[in-house]
């Protein structure tokens, strides 16, 4: 029986307040969320705050080291690349590409996967069998390989990369949405809503979806992180967005030629990528922690 009964007090806070309290006390969320917030601000304001035009080449000031190395200066705090472009400005504009790819991909795959998952979980039967099979087939398709192949054949642009990744990364949403919907479907409040005469659409939108959102948001963050990494990998391999766009993957690929003498050209954009992905993951893991159903004991 419910031991929760023992702690029932009239002053128990609302679920929303409980959640916010937990979020504000969770170090991973605060740290990860903080870095993500800074990156988003930098990305949005990049055209205004970047010190130079990220495409402006200057052959006299090529391969200047960052300020903390010998020969570096505050003129180019992160140095310049092999074409003399300001590395800080390219990094700031690169954040835009990563975040746009991450957000758009997560949105497309989220809508696609969640819809499939909820439909499979709620209706069950043949519909479920079909969608589950679809997910199995999707899982068997190599994501990076197919993304590379399609982007290469169709031509690399931001839109193509977003669309391809959006259609390749929906499975996690479908799996999670289906599993949670299966649990919710058997809840008595769904039966009660059916008995009241609610339409299917109303039940799905007002009874199922709100209880699903927490888990979907977690998947959203994790999918965003993998989309960002995959885009960087594609661009690194020369099959993603095309130069001179300052994608971090392209910056790493270009810096690779100078890896033995100017390793910072690889380290800086890679570190930015690592930090962004790490903080999105920390945010997602944290959200999973705080929204997880109360454990036993």
């Amino acid at each position: 029986m419910q031991d929760a009964e023992a702690t029932t007090e009239p002053t128990i806070p609302t679920p929303g307040a409980v959640l916010w309290g937990k979020i504000l006390r969770h170090k991973g969320i605060l740290f990860g969320g903080g870095i993500v917030a800074v990156m988003v601000i930098v990305a949005v304001l990049a055209p205004l705050i970047a010190p130079y035009d990220p495409y402006a080449q200057s052959l006299i000031s090529r391969l200047q080291p960052p300020v903390w190395l010998d020969g570096g200066s505050w003129q180019h705090p992160l140095g310049t690349d092999h074409l003399g472009r300001d590395y800080l400005s390219r990094l700031m504009h690169g954040a835009r590409i990563s975040l746009i790819i991450g957000a758009c991909t997560a949105a497309i795959s989220g809508v696609l996967g969640t819809t499939l998952g909820v439909v499979a979980g709620y209706f069950g039967g043949r519909v479920d069998t079909a969608i589950t099979f679809l997910v199995t087939v999707k899982l068997s398709i190599p994501t990076i390989l197919v993304a590379l192949a399609v982007v290469q054949l169709v031509g690399g642009s931001l839109t193509v990369v977003v669309l391809v990744l959006g259609f390749l990364l929906w499975h996690q949403f479908a799996i999670v949405a289906r599993a949670v919907t299966l649990q919710i479907r058997d809840m008595d409040y769904i039966t009660a809503a059916r008995m009241i005469g609610c339409s299917r659409a109303r039940i799905l939108l007002t009874e199922v979806m709100p209880n699903l959102m927490n888990q979907i948001i977690v998947v959203l963050t994790l999918t965003m992180a993998s989309a960002i990494v995959i885009e960087a990998a594609l661009s690194f391999l020369g099959v993603g967005v095309k130069p001179p766009l300052p994608s971090w993957g392209i910056m790493i690929a270009e810096g690779r030629t100078h890896i033995f003498f100017d390793p910072w050209l690889v380290m800086i954009p890679g570190a930015a990528l690592f930090a962004l992905v790490l903080s999105i993951n920390l945010l997602g893991d944290g959200l999973r922690d705080v929204t997880a159903p109360q454990g036993r004991n």
């Binding site: 029986m1 419910q2 031991d3 009964e5 023992a6 702690t7 029932t8 007090e9 036993r296 004991n297």
Partner: protein, 331 residues
């Protein structure tokens, strides 16, 4: 009781670390049980009855703290034992039967494996003789040894059968004390009666001392020699079963008995007795009688000091400032 009691618990406190602070799940629990006697601990959810049992067995969850003045079973002082010595006692000297037969057996191993494992561990038996003994024990708890039950997995058995397996398994090493935590609550009524029969029969036959945890006053009345009624982490009344059920002296015990629909007592369509309100929170600093908030007889004094468990004339112990005369005659 002339002899020293077989089980002696004194000043048992169990606190749980919960998000809001410390939950005082069991407070100053003390009881003695004679050899071969059955003590029922009865109470509602959150009363601390299961925590008492788990605390005695040393099976508390990791967020729990246990302290006591005395915890003795037979010649063993449980407070002085380390983890390894305690493990030697568990299953051998004192065993426990749990509430949920469906989840209390490991789904990955056969019945025979899980039963013989006990004998191999405690009695240093070989695998073969252990399996033979396990088969005998299944027969003893009413499972005919024919159908190759030893090779079956738990999910192939019904709830009643699993509970029989559990009982056989826990009694195989002939423990002196058995703690049964709501062993029949998850079962159907007809199965419940059968399991109670089995348990009571084996207990008498083997001379085992039993602590039986339940929320069901009906079960208490049929199986217990003595009863401890728990409320909000404390024993509020303790004594011989007949006396407690016939003449409850704590307002909570009395209220609880009136809530149970019983034939002849309540007419269809009539009202049952109720205890208004809900159980108080046990988190943080507690004061006064735990039942004061729901007690129809609560007075100013009830909210100050925590009342002590006092021994009354017939040997029963009651945690209430008032005597029944003062309470019911006025009402």
């Amino acid at each position: 009781m002339a002899d020293a009691p077989f089980v002696s618990v004194s000043g048992l406190d169990i606190d749980l670390e919960v998000p809001g602070g410390r939950l005082h799940a069991v407070r100053d629990s003390s009881f003695d049980i004679a050899l071969g006697e059955t003590l029922c601990i009865v109470g509602e959810s959150g009363s601390g009855k299961s925590m008492t049992a788990l605390g005695l067995m040393g099976l508390l969850p990791s967020n729990a703290h246990r302290s006591a003045r005395r915890l003795r079973v037979g010649n063993h002082d449980l407070l002085s034992l380390n983890r390894r010595e305690m493990a030697d006692l568990m299953g051998r000297e004192m065993a426990m039967i749990f509430q949920e037969p469906m989840t209390s057996l490991n789904p990955c191993y056969t019945v025979g494996n899980q039963m013989s494992e006990m004998l191999i561990r405690h009695l240093r038996m070989g695998r073969r003789p252990a399996l033979t003994l396990a088969r005998d024990w299944l027969d003893r708890v009413g499972i005919p040894p024919t159908a190759g039950r030893l090779d079956q997995y738990p999910h192939q058995l019904s709830g009643g059968l699993r509970q029989r397996v559990m009982i056989a398994m826990m009694l195989m090493c002939s423990p002196k004390l058995i703690i049964a935590d709501e062993p029949t609550t998850a079962l159907d009524v007809t199965i419940q009666a059968q399991i109670l029969h089995l348990l009571a029969g084996l207990q008498r036959e083997l001379g085992i001392t039993m602590i039986f945890i339940t929320h069901d006053l009906g079960v208490v009345s049929r199986i217990a020699d003595r009863v401890a009624v728990m409320y909000a982490g404390q024993i509020v009344e303790m004594g011989r079963t007949r006396e407690i059920l016939r003449d409850p002296q704590h307002p909570y015990t009395r209220g609880l008995l009136e809530c149970v629909p019983a034939p002849g007592k309540t007419r269809p369509g009539a009202h049952l007795g109720t205890i208004p309100g809900t159980v108080p929170s046990l988190v943080g600093q507690l004061s006064g009688c735990g039942f004061a908030g729901r007690c129809p007889h609560a007075a100013v004094g009830c909210r100050g000091e925590i009342p002590a468990l006092t021994v009354r004339a017939d040997g029963r112990q009651v945690r209430c400032l008032f005597t029944p005369d003062a309470l019911w005659s006025a009402a």
